[in-house]
């Protein structure tokens, strides 16, 4: 890997001193936001950091950051929305339980789960609850309509919270962890305990198995055009083609960013076929799908942990990241 100036963006990265495991990152407009495992939400502003503790002493376990929404779920069983002015409001409280999963839709619907219990909250604040067959591990809204996908043991389910109908079930033996829906709503993909991905084409529930990973796949990112799904879990970003009717079936994935370190985070640029790749040694590369050209964003630093959060702003001009050892930074593209 070259670190010659013309292939490096390292000079355009502003370090942010965070000090705790960064669980998730995102932007509120141009402003980076980081949710930390120790319970803090940090708004990165022009004139410094605003740190708030919406969960008191309790840890944040899950977080979702998008557009104008910063949502966190904690060890205290609370689901809390935080604002850049430092205020926060409680949206849910599951007493004595951990919040295991959390998501939100672009239109402001939200969902969280604790054990088998799922709570869906529509954009008007109407709450619906449901019990899954086993602990819910991942939640994701489908892009259209108020429909929630959730992963659990032996499959996933699709639920219309406003309907009395039994959720549609997608079956596949084993423990399904994270879940993601394709931007066109045609596919649902889960990561599994056995270092594989499983997918379903919703039109006919046809199964897709995507295997060959040496580690669990804990980061999934769809390209802006919905044609590619980038995944962590290997020493290269593995990118599956989803353009065709039958998705990636029978097609080899693309690989980019090959390095002797496992990839822990992937994030597609919001309007170009450029993938940001974060590694277990806290290195970050940008990789262009069209010609596999690579740009260095961050040189690995010993002792700073793995990349645990990586996200672009809406315009694709800025990217924020964080590590398991509390390092963080903001890339502004030149």
């Amino acid at each position: 890997m070259s670190t010659a100036p013309h292939t490096s963006l390292t000079a355009h990265v502003m370090p942010i001193d965070i000090g705790e495991h960064v669980l998730r990152s995102g932007f509120i407009g141009p402003q980076p936001v980081l949710a930390l495992a120790d319970g803090q939400v940090v708004f990165v502003k022009e004139d410094g950091l605003t740190r708030i503790h919406p969960h008191g002493d309790a840890a944040i376990l899950v977080a979702h950051i998008q557009h104008d929404l910063v949502l966190t779920g904690g060890e205290d069983g609370r689901v809390i929305r935080s604002q850049p002015d430092g205020s926060s409001s409680e949206l849910g409280h599951e007493k004595g339980r951990w919040i295991d999963a959390l998501t939100a839709s672009p239109t402001g619907a939200m969902a969280w789960s604790t054990g088998k219990h799922i709570t869906a909250r529509d954009s008007k604040g109407e709450i619906r609850k449901r019990e899954a067959p086993s602990t819910v591990q991942g939640l994701a809204f489908l892009p259209k309509g108020y429909r929630l996908a959730y992963s659990h043991y032996n499959g996933a389910s699709l639920w219309f919270p406003n309907s009395e109908a039994t959720p549609d079930s997608l079956e596949w033996k084993g423990s399904h962890i994270d879940i993601s829906t394709s931007p066109d709503g045609r596919f649902v993909v889960t990561s599994m305990q056995e270092n594989t991905l499983h997918g379903w084409r919703l039109s006919d529930k046809k199964d897709m198995r995507m295997s060959g990973y040496p580690a669990k796949i804990r980061s999934l990112s769809w390209s802006h055009d919905g044609e590619w799904l980038a995944t962590s879990g290997a020493e290269a970003a593995v990118i599956w083609p989803f353009k065709d009717k039958d998705g990636p079936m029978g097609k080899p994935p693309r690989e980019c960013g090959v390095r002797p370190a496992k990839i822990t985070q992937v994030a597609f640029h919001p309007n170009a076929l450029v993938l940001a790749i974060g590694y277990e040694d806290n290195c970050i590369l940008l990789c262009r799908l069209t010609d596999a050209a690579e740009l260095l964003v961050r040189v690995p630093v010993k002792g700073q942990g793995s990349i645990t959060a990586l996200s672009w702003d809406k315009t694709g001009k800025r990217m924020v990241f964080g590590t398991s050892e509390g390092a963080a930074g903001l890339l502004t593209l030149p």
């Binding site: 705790e20 495991h21 669980l23 495992a37 120790d38 840890a59 376990l61 060890e75 004595g96 339980r97 951990w98 295991d100 054990g115 088998k116 086993s134 602990t135 591990q137 043991y153 033996k173 084993g174 423990s175 599994m192 305990q193 056995e194 580690a215 669990k216 398991s324």
Partner: protein, 320 residues
């Protein structure tokens, strides 16, 4: 390696004194902090800052084998706990009286992320001296918990006569002659008997000596679960032994709860040690054989329906 957080698994029947032992561990002045994972029925009366409720969800791995199981909820809990280092020095996982300890133990070997950050220290089983006899008759899980244990706390000894105590110890030893056994009243045991055991650490497998209460007692009539220990003088041929032990644990995995061995391999100055849980085997070369040490191989299998004659014959065939 040494930075991994130790995990102690606490099993035992309801009412045996598990919660009392847990509170002793938590409140004695040892200066250590623990994260405690309790089952959903056990949250009452635990005196600790960091208590997590667990659902005890057992997941089968996708190889179709009934013994290859993990605790799905535990994987998620440990992931959450380990993001905030420095809050605790160890983790204690309490299971319900009905739980099989194997999925808990296997989680620490099967899940890569869990194995990277934590290590299983020991399985500690608390049993009630007065009621164990009854439990062994009607509850297969009570038998499992004893068979699986590294440390057995034989509690409430003040409620039984010396004869009854001897009988219950014999029952325990018929199932598991290798666990360290402590006789207690109100779960009063020194904490180093329970914590820091390194029971799954190959470097700590120093010797394998069964602790039979009295000669003869280890052939207890009702023992469907029992142990087979084998001592072979001289050397073993690793090229014969390794394929056999792999094949044996793969085929009989569901019936082998625990195994352990110290082996003398031919042309090998170091001792080979192994230990296993069901089908999961871990083995490595350890220290050198000492000049005055008798080169022999010892191994023990604890499990169900173990065929002693068959195992003896198979091991005999691997001799150098």
């Amino acid at each position: 390696m040494s930075e991994k957080i130790p995990v102690t698994v606490l099993t035992g029947y309801l009412g045996a004194g598990k919660t009392t032992l847990l509170n002793r561990i938590l409140t004695e002045p040892h200066g250590k902090k623990f994260a405690v994972v309790v089952n959903e029925f056990g949250e009452v009366g635990i005196d600790n800052d960091l208590v997590v409720g667990a659902d005890e969800e057992v997941f089968e791995m996708n190889n179709g084998c009934i013994c290859c199981t993990v605790r799905g909820d535990l994987i998620r809990i440990i992931e959450g706990l380990m993001r905030r280092k420095g809050r605790f020095d160890g983790i204690i996982v309490e299971t319900t009286g009905l739980a099989d300890p194997a999925p808990v133990a296997q989680t620490f070997f099967v899940d890569q992320d869990v194995a990277e950050k934590t290590r299983l220290d020991a399985v500690v089983t608390v049993v009630d001296a007065k009621w164990l006899g009854e439990r062994l008759k009607d509850a297969p899980e009570a038998r499992n918990q004893i068979a699986f244990a590294d440390v057995i706390i034989l509690n409430k000894i003040d409620l039984v006569s010396p004869d009854e105590l001897a009988a219950v110890e014999a029952q325990i030893r018929a199932i598991n002659p290798y666990a360290t056994l402590h006789r207690t009243e109100r779960s009063a045991v020194s904490l180093d008997a329970v914590l820091g055991r390194n029971a799954f650490d190959l470097d700590r497998i120093l010797d394998i000596e069964p602790d039979f209460l009295e000669p003869g007692h280890h052939h207890h009539h009702s023992a469907e679960i029992g142990s087979v220990s084998i001592t072979v003088p001289g050397d073993i041929n690793p090229e014969k032994f390794m394929p056999w032990i792999n094949e044996f644990t793969q085929t009989h995995g569901p019936d082998i709860l625990r195994c352990k061995g110290i082996l003398s391999f031919m042309n090998e100055p170091k001792r080979f040690v192994f230990q296993g849980v069901h089908m999961i085997l871990d083995g490595d070369l350890q220290r050198d054989w000492k000049p005055d040490e008798l080169r022999q191989s010892k191994m023990v299998f604890i499990g169900r329906k173990l065929d002693r004659a068959m195992i003896e014959k198979a091991v005999e065939a691997t001799r150098a």
